[in-house]
Symmetry: none
Subunit: 299 residues, 5 copies
Amino acid sequence: MTETAVKRPQLSELGLSTGKRARLQRILYGHGLRNGTAMFLPYDQGLEHGPRDFFDNPAAGDPSYILKLAVEGGFNGVAIQIGLAEKFYWEYAGEVPLLLKLNGRTEIPDASRPRSPRNATVEDAVRLGADAVGYTLYVGSAQQEEDFEAFAEVRRDAERYGLPLVVWSYPRGEAVDAKGGKDSFWAVDYAARTAAELGADVVKVNFPNPSPKEGMRKEYTGQQFTEQEAVNAVVRSAARTPVLLSGGERTGDEGVLEKARQSMEAGALGVIFGRNIWQRPHDESLRFVGRLRELLSKY
Amino acid sequence: MTETAVKRPQLSELGLSTGKRARLQRILYGHGLRNGTAMFLPYDQGLEHGPRDFFDNPAAGDPSYILKLAVEGGFNGVAIQIGLAEKFYWEYAGEVPLLLKLNGRTEIPDASRPRSPRNATVEDAVRLGADAVGYTLYVGSAQQEEDFEAFAEVRRDAERYGLPLVVWSYPRGEAVDAKGGKDSFWAVDYAARTAAELGADVVKVNFPNPSPKEGMRKEYTGQQFTEQEAVNAVVRSAARTPVLLSGGERTGDEGVLEKARQSMEAGALGVIFGRNIWQRPHDESLRFVGRLRELLSKY
Amino acid sequence: MTETAVKRPQLSELGLSTGKRARLQRILYGHGLRNGTAMFLPYDQGLEHGPRDFFDNPAAGDPSYILKLAVEGGFNGVAIQIGLAEKFYWEYAGEVPLLLKLNGRTEIPDASRPRSPRNATVEDAVRLGADAVGYTLYVGSAQQEEDFEAFAEVRRDAERYGLPLVVWSYPRGEAVDAKGGKDSFWAVDYAARTAAELGADVVKVNFPNPSPKEGMRKEYTGQQFTEQEAVNAVVRSAARTPVLLSGGERTGDEGVLEKARQSMEAGALGVIFGRNIWQRPHDESLRFVGRLRELLSKY
Amino acid sequence: MTETAVKRPQLSELGLSTGKRARLQRILYGHGLRNGTAMFLPYDQGLEHGPRDFFDNPAAGDPSYILKLAVEGGFNGVAIQIGLAEKFYWEYAGEVPLLLKLNGRTEIPDASRPRSPRNATVEDAVRLGADAVGYTLYVGSAQQEEDFEAFAEVRRDAERYGLPLVVWSYPRGEAVDAKGGKDSFWAVDYAARTAAELGADVVKVNFPNPSPKEGMRKEYTGQQFTEQEAVNAVVRSAARTPVLLSGGERTGDEGVLEKARQSMEAGALGVIFGRNIWQRPHDESLRFVGRLRELLSKY
Amino acid sequence: MTETAVKRPQLSELGLSTGKRARLQRILYGHGLRNGTAMFLPYDQGLEHGPRDFFDNPAAGDPSYILKLAVEGGFNGVAIQIGLAEKFYWEYAGEVPLLLKLNGRTEIPDASRPRSPRNATVEDAVRLGADAVGYTLYVGSAQQEEDFEAFAEVRRDAERYGLPLVVWSYPRGEAVDAKGGKDSFWAVDYAARTAAELGADVVKVNFPNPSPKEGMRKEYTGQQFTEQEAVNAVVRSAARTPVLLSGGERTGDEGVLEKARQSMEAGALGVIFGRNIWQRPHDESLRFVGRLRELLSKY
């Protein structure tokens, strides 16, 4: 397999309807670096992990703090659940694009065969003036069938209303755990492709880890891949679906920035970092955002 | 009657839903002067009057020319019919806000009792990524009943999807002609109020002419009004419905600018000038736009 | 006004959805001259005029004869009503593209304020494997309001199903008759623009006659136009809506071919000739088709 | 124009869905002469004309008498309105095919611009076990627009449920009266074609009268036609839509039989005679039916 | 049992609606060999197996490469999932028929009782201008009930819109594994018949392997069958449902061509080969396609 990078796709190449194109144009060229790259601020951890994620910087538990940070930091968009959008977005309406997250779950129940239930509709997103919607797809879960079918309905609604559909494409479930785990190159590569095949407009994946090999098909075990090769492959597998790399748990800034750099080199659209942004004091957040902006300005 | 001006209403005063606010915020602070004033470019004359309006500047018959002019001139939005939006907006999608005009008619049939049929829906506007919709209301027409009922449906759809509804509120019909005509102070004043009462988010009116008196109620004939007093009254009658003043047929620049100034003094949101913009060569259009921008920058 | 020709628009410029593009590609490059021009065979005269149109060549009263002629002549499509499509198209299904005409009327009732009722739906067209649908719009009729509203529904269905919408845009009604008539330059020019503004994918108009001046706006009476200038203007007014020129009643071959040539020079998509094709014996029809093909092959 | 007869179309030529074909097969080969010809008994005169039609043979006012006659006479079907179908068909259900007439009117109101309202649905017909439905289309009426649109709905339902749709195609209205009247060759010819164009599966027309010429287009006045030539033309204009000839008011048996013979010679499917059958005593009815059967057995 | 071949069914024998016939006519006579045989290019392996299938020829991971190959190779159609159709088909719209695959799954979760979830609808296919839809039916799976019911909905939609329905009829599940496996003659024979019984318009099966006998009913174990006899039987069991033979994993060219030859001898419609086509360099792909075309040209 080759491991070269691809070129970041242009909006004009994506077969987008006028509405999807207008909204992505607004997100990518009317906000952030305005150069076609993207930097999103995700803030659904209060649902996905609970308030524990706010213990390091309690101010971040206040959605208003986060929306203000998104405006100050010049993000391309902020991803939140319907309840927070209803109560907090009106104050910042139109100042930063809203990416309404349509499904989500708590981490409390057993997660061996997860599915993320729909908590809002694309019509809710239209009503709130959102510029995009988000959906978490658990690729490989034993509930994959129900998940795909729910996703197909969301895709059709997004098509109907012209809203770009950002897919959190996450390998999950026992079968994934048995084959290298959710961050393994194989799993992330498959997840990126699955989102592309099923109709994502943008796909968000975790940074792929090329180390795990156990239980995988021979194609992934037959040779050793560097991180850059792995992320190159993932972006290529996404096949014209612009790719956002997540940051995941907060880790060291240099490591995060290096992964962001590798992602941009691979042809990614940009990054979607949450905890690495707001699990620190406000000024430090903005300083880190400044470094990210400097990086993205080069692509 | 008092004739003092009112203050231009702020978005936060208008009881707007989050979606309408997000979109108006985008229109008023993400485009144009970005100071809360507005300068729209209307381009439905090809339907309303036919190609004759393009004879003075044939280039203006090309919708692509107009969209480019809207981007270059830094307009807050461009108002077009569905057919042109489908074929031309994709190239400029997201670069200038789209105000989809939902109804419109040709000038050919007898116009003594006009109604403007709906050619597109609010859902079409959502699908195309429009930031607002427009509806022509013929206040006073013998078909007022059907018109109001059609408008009410549009208003409900605009509410449902969170799209601001801009109303072309035009006095029309035999009864209007018999009482000072469609530009008389009385008629424009009544039309502004009617749009406010029926649920416009923004109202577009012609500049009121305080001279005609014949056939009007005594309140309008008992005293003499200056143009400034008339436009003050119209903006006040609109009751928190931000007002856009139309330019109508092309006339002298100084007169147009003076009316724009009076409108802004009266507390209007801004202007919506079409033929006065594009019925002249491209460079002259931009020069005139420059003068308008200079004016609006003061409010 | 300038009177220069425009370039025939390319499919990639039209903002078409994938489905509309696939079907127009099939029509324009999989049939006919396969060079992007079009030659359609209309056959709704049995409804519009009654069987009298078949008296000159009774064989032409048999829809099977016409479908066979469309295949033999290598037409880009044949336009028929639902009843004939149901009973006859199955034998030629897929051999020549079907353009299902959705509305139509008999010439019997008073035609001073005409409207063409819908006899079939876009879904009927999909079900029958049609590649396009056709709608007659009577621009200027006193029933214009109902007509525009019916058209808007058809447009939305065509959008939903991805079928190209061909509009027979015909100036009609008392107001038209009083201003130069249905074939006058002014009326045809306005009709072409109206179809573009309302969302036609292709517009069919009569060849414009620049002679009548009575009752028209000054823009059309202030100068003299040649036929070529008139057809240039009409194609330009259609604004990226590809234009088909009708032939109307059977007239002399040389005159028809000259008008076809002028139309193609003006940037038209092609022609839609019925009676000039089939109101003559079969071999003569094919000979005339051969001359048309020779003409279109040059564009 | 040529005036030769056409061949009666076969079921396999008509592009019929399986359901329509099954039901027509049952009607044409499981009843009547079982040779593909048809003899229907219409009985909607009680609505269309009122009880006056039963004064000559009061027994015929009893629907049970008529249904029994249809069975005894070996008709291919009986055409009745929903009320009679509900109350009387259960006794003869399945013994003679039911053709449920879906629309009908009284003769009481002014008939200068008639339309026949829908009194039952295709779903009613399915529910009652009918093998076909009937619809009266008033070709040329000033209400033609509403009529065509209602017919289109019936056609779609008939398509959906697989029921053959028999159209009573009647020229009517002031414009028809002014051009030779409802039985004139021109009018009947146009009506036959209209039903074919709009999607009738079988069309019922009056026998055409070639004498009137006044007010007609030159094609019908330029030559003299015999009755045989006229009925030949009408059947040919119906273009694969099998034609039933009505009898109309009771007249002399020999004249009726001669018209039936001419119709069959022209390629008609058969006849639909009501008053000529049941406006006489029971035995005479059956004797006349016997003569009709003898005639049809030859085609 | 006899083991003779059957004749490939003609379109006119299949009771097809006009729309299905038009589209199959276009697929079979407007593309490929244009002789009624078919050669499809399936490309859903990115979803079904993940990106690993592209490791041998990374260029094949790019859907645009595949669509271009389908055009260059003169295929009768290309089968892809909705996401790729949305992003890539617009560039090749109408140049090669689109067979939209409506369901699909990843291979990650446990596959002992598989069901393939619906990711797109027949209406999506219509909207995109597809000429056919595809559905994977897992015959014998413990989830067969849900599968059949979902299939029945798809079949009804395909009927409603006139789109041919191609069924990937795959024996699957523990019960199949216990009785000779998914490629055994018994299992493939049963799957072919199942698709025919449930309403497939075309059925795609794996080449049957007559060797396994364990656990099967006596009819399949009582005698020895050759491969030719097995494939003859499978095509016959499909009962007028035209049969496509899959290639499965890439194997030697001679073996693949021999199976294709046996299939065509058996009366199959053609082949649907993916990995055997595109898991090799571009020029080799076209050379192999050339050999396939030569073979199909003889039938």
